[in-house]
Amino acid sequence: MTKKSFLAIIFAAVLLFSLFSCGQDNGDDEGDTPPVFSGETVVLNVYNWGEYISDGFEGALDSNKAFEEYFNEYLAPIYGFNVEVNYTTYANNEDMYSKLKSGAGNYDVVIPSDYMIEKMIGEGMLHEFTDEQRAKLSNLVYIGEDFLGENAVYDPGNRYSVPYTYGMLGVIYNTALIDEDDYLSESWELLWNPKYRGKLLQFNNQRDAFASAMYFHNIDVNTTDEAKWREALGYLLAQKELVQGYVNDEIFNKMTTASAAAAPYYAGDFLTMASENEDLSFYYPTEGTNYFVDAMCIPKNARNKDLAIEYINFMLSEEPAVANALYIGYASPNSLVLESEEYQEGMDELHEDWYEILYGKTPAEANANYDYDPAYRSFSPETQELVNALWESLKTENATELWVHVSSITITASVIALAVYTTYIRKKRSRHYRMRDREIAKARRA
C-alpha cells in the first residue's frame, strides 16, 4: 500500500468513526427533559404514508403546523422547549419497516397498518406506553369501542398503538364499461370475468393480490398451509390472462381515464377517484373482504417518546382529526369526526354516498360469508418466503414472447459475427502487408 492511500484510509476511518460516535451521543439524552424553559427547539420526527395527513391545502388545517403552535403556546413552558415537526412519508408498510429495521432513520411517530404493527411488536421494535403516558392520552376516549381492547387483534389492549384510520377493500368499476348484470351480483368474480379481458386491474403487491383470490374462494388469508397458497396462485394465474396489468397507485389514473374498467382498491381512495369520474362506482364483495386499521405508534428507539404522546393525543382532538379525515377520505375511528358538521358537509361535497360507503357496513357485516379473520396478520418467515416464491412464479408465467428471443439472439449473433469477421479481415490484411514489406525488402537487397 502506498503512503498516499494509507493516509486517505486513515482519514476516512477517522471521519467515519466521528460520524458514528456523534450518532450515539444523540441517542443517549432521551428522557431527560430540562425543568425550565431553555428556549431550544426539539425536532419531532413523524413518518407517515404519503398523502395521509391534512397539509393545509386549499385553506384546510395544516395538522403538523397546528400541533407546533398548540405545543409551543401551551406545553412549551411545561416541557421547557419548543417543538418542530419533521414530517416524512413512505409508500408502503414494507418500505417503512425496512427503513426502521436497518436503523437508517430515527422516528418518534410512525403510522403502520395492523399486520405490520403486529410484526413490529413481535420483533420488539415498538415502545409500550407507560401508565404515565397512557394517562396523557386523554383523547383516547373518543376512539370507538370497535377499535379498542380485544377488538384490536393486532395489538390487544392498545398497549403500543392508537387507531388513526380504518377501511375496507372493495371493487371499483366503471358503470359505462361494465354491464349491469355483472356488477349487481357484487362479487369478486367481476375481476375474473373473461368478458372484460384486458380491462381488469390487479394489485401489484403480493398481499392484496393473493387476498382478493382468497376472499373470493373462501380461503383463510393468513393460512400457513402451502396447498391453500398454491390454490390461490392457481386463481391468480387464471386471472393473469385477463388483467391489463398489476398496478398500485396507477389505479387512480387508469380508473379515472377509463383505461381500465374494474379494479380492487380501498373505499377511501374510491371517493377521491369518483370525484374525478362520475361513472365510477363501488361495492364490497359479498364473499368477504379485507379490513384494516392504520394506527399511530412510537418506535422503541424514538428519542422523544413523551413528545410523541402529545402529538398522538393532539391528532385525536377534534380539529386535526376532522381535517385529516376530510383530507384522507378514509373512515375515521374517532367519534368526534363523525359527529362533526364540518366533516359531514365536506364529505357530502366529495360524494353523495360517502356515509354508506365508508361507514355503512361494519367489517363483521361485510364478512358475514367469510369463514376466517378478514384482517391480515403478520406472516411467519416461512410463509413470507413461500408467498415471495409464488408471486415470483406468477410474474414469470408466460413472461417471454418468441419475438423477444428471436430478435435478441439475432442481434447478438450478428454483432459477434461482425466482430469475428472484422478480426479475420484485419489479420489477413496485416499478413498481406507484412508479406509485401518483406518482398520489397528482399527486392531492395537483391
Partner: protein, 270 residues
C-alpha cells in the same frame, strides 16, 4: 519540491478517496457480506445456488436490454452523425434539444409516457383508437430507448466530431464512394464512441426497474424489479446475491467489450 507536490496531491485526492470508500467500497463489501450469509449471519452459499430460479427473469432482462440497445444504436447513430455534420452553432442547439428531456426526472418521464400511451390515454383519445400499448414488451423497450437514447448519441457525436475532416477528402480522393467513406472510414473510426454508447445504454437497461413496472403493466418482472422486491420484503440476502451476480456479469461483459474496442481501434469493417 517534488515531495511537496505529492502531499498536495494526496490532500487533493483525499475527499475523492474518502467518497469512494464510503459510498462505493463499503456498500460493495456489505453487498458481498449479505450475499454469502443467511438470515442469522452464518456463512452460506445457498443464496447464490438458489439463483437458478431467477434465470428466466435474468434472460428476459438481458434480451429486452439488447433489443433496446440495438434500437438506440440504429436511431442514435444517424442522429449523432447529423448533429456532428451540422454547423457548430446549430450543433450546440441540437445537443441542448437532445438533453432537454433529461432535465425532467426519469420517473416523471416514464409516468408521463404511461399516461400518454395508456388504453384511455392521450394518444388513443386523440386518434380515437383503442391501441393496447402499455403492458407489452414493446412499451418497455420504447421506454428504455426514450430514456437512454441521449447516452447513446452523445459519445458517438463526440467521436464523430473529433474525426479529422481530411479523412473524408482523403477517402474520396482514393476512390471511395460516399457509402464506402461511411462504412470503411467513418464507422470504424467512431467505433470507440459506439462501444461506450452501447455500454452506457445496455447496463442501465438491464438493471432498470421503474420502466418495466409502469410500462410493462406489472405482468412480468425484470431483474431490477426482483431485486427491489427482495429488499422491500426483507429478503436482503437473496437481493444481495442477485445484485452481486449482476455486477459480476456486467463486469465480464464490459471487459469483453473493451477487448473488442481496443483491437478495433483504427480497424476496418468490411
Amino acid at each position: 519540491m517534488k515531495k511537496k507536490g505529492s502531499i498536495m496531491r494526496s490532500i487533493a485526492a483525499a475527499p475523492h478517496i474518502f467518497w469512494a470508500i464510503l459510498f462505493i467500497v463499503l456498500p460493495l463489501i456489505i453487498v458481498v457480506y449479505y450475499a454469502f450469509t443467511d438470515g442469522d449471519g452464518n456463512f452460506s452459499f445457498e443464496n447464490i445456488t438458489s439463483l437458478a430460479d431467477y434465470a428466466p427473469i435474468f434472460t428476459l432482462s438481458v434480451e429486452l436490454a439488447v433489443i433496446a440497445t440495438f434500437v438506440c444504436l440504429i436511431v442514435g447513430y444517424p442522429l449523432a452523425y447529423i448533429i456532428a455534420k451540422a454547423r457548430p452553432e446549430r450543433q450546440r442547439f441540437y445537443i441542448m434539444l437532445l438533453m432537454l428531456p433529461m432535465w425532467t426526472n426519469l420517473l416523471i418521464r416514464t409516468y408521463s409516457i404511461m399516461a400518454i400511451l395508456d388504453d384511455g390515454g392521450f394518444l388513443n383519445t386523440i386518434l380515437g383508437t383503442t391501441m393496447h400499448i402499455v403492458g407489452t414488451k414493446g412499451a418497455v423497450i420504447f421506454g428504455m430507448v426514450y430514456d437512454f437514447l441521449p447516452y447513446m448519441v452523445l459519445p458517438i457525436y463526440t467521436c464523430i466530431s473529433k474525426i479529422d475532416k481530411n479523412m473524408w477528402e482523403a477517402a474520396s480522393d482514393l476512390g471511395c464512394k460516399p457509402v464506402q467513406v461511411m462504412t470503411r472510414v467513418i464507422f470504424p473510426l467512431s467505433m470507440s464512441g459506439i462501444i461506450s454508447g452501447v455500454t452506457m445504454v445496455l447496463v442501465p437497461s438491464i438493471s432498470t426497474f421503474y420502466i418495466s413496472q409502469k410500462l410493462g403493466g406489472g405482468t412480468f418482472e425484470l431483474i431490477g424489479d426482483t431485486i427491489e422486491r427482495q429488499f422491500v420484503t426483507g429478503a436482503l440476502n437473496t437481493g444481495a446475491a442477485i445484485s452481486l451476480v449482476m455486477m459480476v456479469l456486467i463486469i465480464i461483459s464490459l471487459t469483453v467489450m473493451n477487448r473488442f474496442s481496443d483491437s478495433d481501434e483504427g480497424g476496418i469493417i468490411v
